[in-house]
Symmetry: C2
Subunit: 232 residues, 2 copies
């Protein structure tokens, strides 16, 4: 268990983020006790999420230069974030000093582009998993992956499991169980369709192909970002 | 299955909302297909959530007078919302005409205060369940409760299960399964502590009592709101 009496958590906030990648772990971390949570963006302007509403940053990049926990959410906007030197520079600087360097969903590709996952086991959204190796990471098909101080969660809703697991690591099991109970996290999915294995190959390829159609330049842009990767 | 080619979803947004109660179903409903999602508040000013950041409304009460789906999230701010005639008036007006009248967590108490749950089976956060009967609702210890066109979810994270279940009702099982897979909703909670039964009486009473200590006037204020309830 780490020693953190008043843990600081910094989330990267960027346009077209999958907002649940950020909002779910933020809800969990808001119950760490004594925490400070920052949503950090290029400016203080509202940031449009993928759900048609905007979230306000709490600080611009220049004002948050360190955090105990860095958490990078995913979303289709991750590709543009990986191409933005200012964003990568902030992630690299804060991640280089953070006690925990973390991500949810395709946020791990941003960590990768910032050079923070080379030589680490990591996960991401199942449909994007193959990209991880472009950044020198070892892709792992698990929901939450701890490797030293890197903690990466799978797609979107894995952010809840990720944040509870990290809460247990920082605050102990009893605290994490109380948070889980407070959030009534006793999941009852209506279907057994949450992983490609459970959903079956037909549905999995339908969902994966639709994602590719929605961002046809994704492959080329991620490969270009990987080619430009600077070691952290 | 309902007929909705372009479903409109209106979330109530109010101060000190438990943001995950809103953001989780918003993420699911953002994949209904052809949807419009509104976050509706008293004004267009940013609304402070319980997690130290603010969300921007997309419309004020006066601009959204109908919706196919009304969804009311919960949170400690629900008590003040139940005391606000303007808020209740909007919930009553939109809920009276909506195809689906829904809530997550203690949002059901706001529906109750607006007179929309009298005579309906409903659920809420486990630690607040007893309040439901003050509003003429029949409290049910289930994660998602359908009763005619009222759909209520349990505490916080139940919003995911609720929204997937309603998606299946509106768009069919195949569509809902694709959404579930896209969100990689294959939950793996680190502990079996998400319900009071699983967590055990000691942890459950610790969490419930802490909630009461944090809002000591809650009981009296909810009872007063119930006494003022007007039928929808």
């Amino acid at each position: 268990m780490s020693e953190m009496t008043s843990p600081s958590v910094a989330f990267l906030l960027y346009p077209d983020v999958t907002q649940l990648d950020l909002t779910a772990p933020a809800q969990v971390f808001s119950r760490l006790g004594g925490q400070t949570i920052h949503l950090v963006a290029a400016s203080m302007e509202p940031v449009a999420t993928d759900c048609g509403f905007s979230i306000l940053p709490t600080a611009p990049f220049g004002e948050v230069t360190r955090a105990d926990i860095l958490c990078v959410p995913g979303g289709h906007g991750c590709v543009a974030a990986m191409e933005d030197e200012e964003t990568l520079g902030w992630v690299r600087a804060v991640g280089g000093k953070a006690a925990w360097v973390t991500s949810v969903c395709t946020g791990s590709l941003i960590l990768g582009a910032a050079g923070l996952l080379a030589g680490y086991r990591a996960t991401t959204h199942w449909a994007w998993r193959d990209y991880l190796s472009l950044f020198g990471a070892e892709p792992v098909a698990e929901r939450v992956v701890f490797d030293r101080n890197r903690v990466t969660g799978g797609g979107v809703t894995a952010g809840i499991d990720f944040a509870l697991a990290l809460t247990a690591e920082i605050r102990g099991d009893a605290h994490a169980k109380a948070v889980q109970l407070g959030l009534e996290y006793d999941p009852a999915p209506p279907f057994d369709a949450g992983s490609p294995e459970a959903a079956g190959p037909e549905l999995a390829s339908f969902v994966a192909e639709r994602g590719r159609r929605e961002s046809p330049t994704r492959d080329a842009r991620i490969r270009a970002a990987a080619a430009c990767m600077q070691p952290a």
